[in-house]
């Protein structure tokens, strides 16, 4: 079981009516993620969003070259981000999630895009499909337990 306390992000300007008037931050289900390329080159991101509504797991396109990912041929898939369409290419990597107590590492096909996403997206394909996830609103914590389809190692 992986446990990730929600992380805060600052509010800019007054809070919306959906938050308490005194709120100064938002709490989001964010988790640190390591992406590892085929030669072992890796990058650590402090905050990736656990997003069950995202179809794919998506990283900034710059990361692909930095970790020597060979992108698969363009399939014509696109990602819409803030109203604009951006290319979405796919590649084979390994992903690693840890909460300091448990380490989960698995192979995944993930997307890479030049869309100016602010967090890597941990979506269904390549990530959340391998876990049973619970989002504990009052505790501001996400729980991930590997499921029977998990293709990697848990230590």
């Amino acid at each position: 079981m992986l446990l990730f306390p929600y992380l805060d992000e600052p509010l800019v300007g007054p809070p919306p009516p959906s938050l308490p008037a005194a709120a100064t931050v938002r709490w989001r289900p964010l988790a640190p993620i390591t992406i590892i390329g085929p030669t072992g080159l890796a990058r650590d991101f402090a905050r990736a969003v656990l997003d069950p509504a995202a179809d794919d797991t998506v990283f900034p396109i710059d990361t692909a070259a930095r970790i020597a990912v060979r992108l698969r041929p363009d399939t014509g898939h696109r990602i819409r981000w803030r109203g604009q369409l951006h290319p979405l290419r796919f590649g084979d990597v390994e992903l690693l999630l840890t909460d300091d107590l448990t380490v989960c590492r698995w192979p995944a096909v993930v997307g890479f895009s030049p869309a100016p996403i602010r967090y890597p997206l941990l979506g269904q394909n390549g990530c959340l499909e391998f876990f049973n996830a619970r989002f504990l609103g009052v505790d501001r914590q996400a729980e991930l337990a590997i499921n029977q389809s998990f293709p990697g190692t848990e230590t």
Binding site: L11, R43, D44, A46, D51, A53, R80, T98, G123
Partner: protein, 79 residues
């Protein structure tokens, strides 16, 4: 792999301390104690790291939110 030291020390940064990096990618040291470099894009950040001889595999990358990021819709904006 991101360490427990990183989590502990990164959490000590206040948002006001990080305000100088709004709308930028930053590279924290692997122990989360300091910001080593920053850039408007990941590509530029990597160039900055290279210019100071820092190993990009021994830093932790993070986008510091700015005014344009107030409100995330994630999957709702995709596909």
């Amino acid at each position: 792999m991101i360490s427990s030291d990183f989590r502990t020390n990164r959490a000590q940064f206040s948002w006001s301390e990080l305000s100088a990096y709004q709308d930028r990618w930053v590279a924290f040291s692997s122990d989360g104690r300091r910001v080593i470099a920053s850039g408007e894009t990941l590509e530029y950040l990597e160039e900055q790291l290279a210019s100071i001889g820092a190993d990009p595999q021994r830093v932790v990358l993070e986008w510091i939110a700015g005014p344009e990021d107030d409100g995330a819709h994630a999957g709702a904006e995709l596909f």
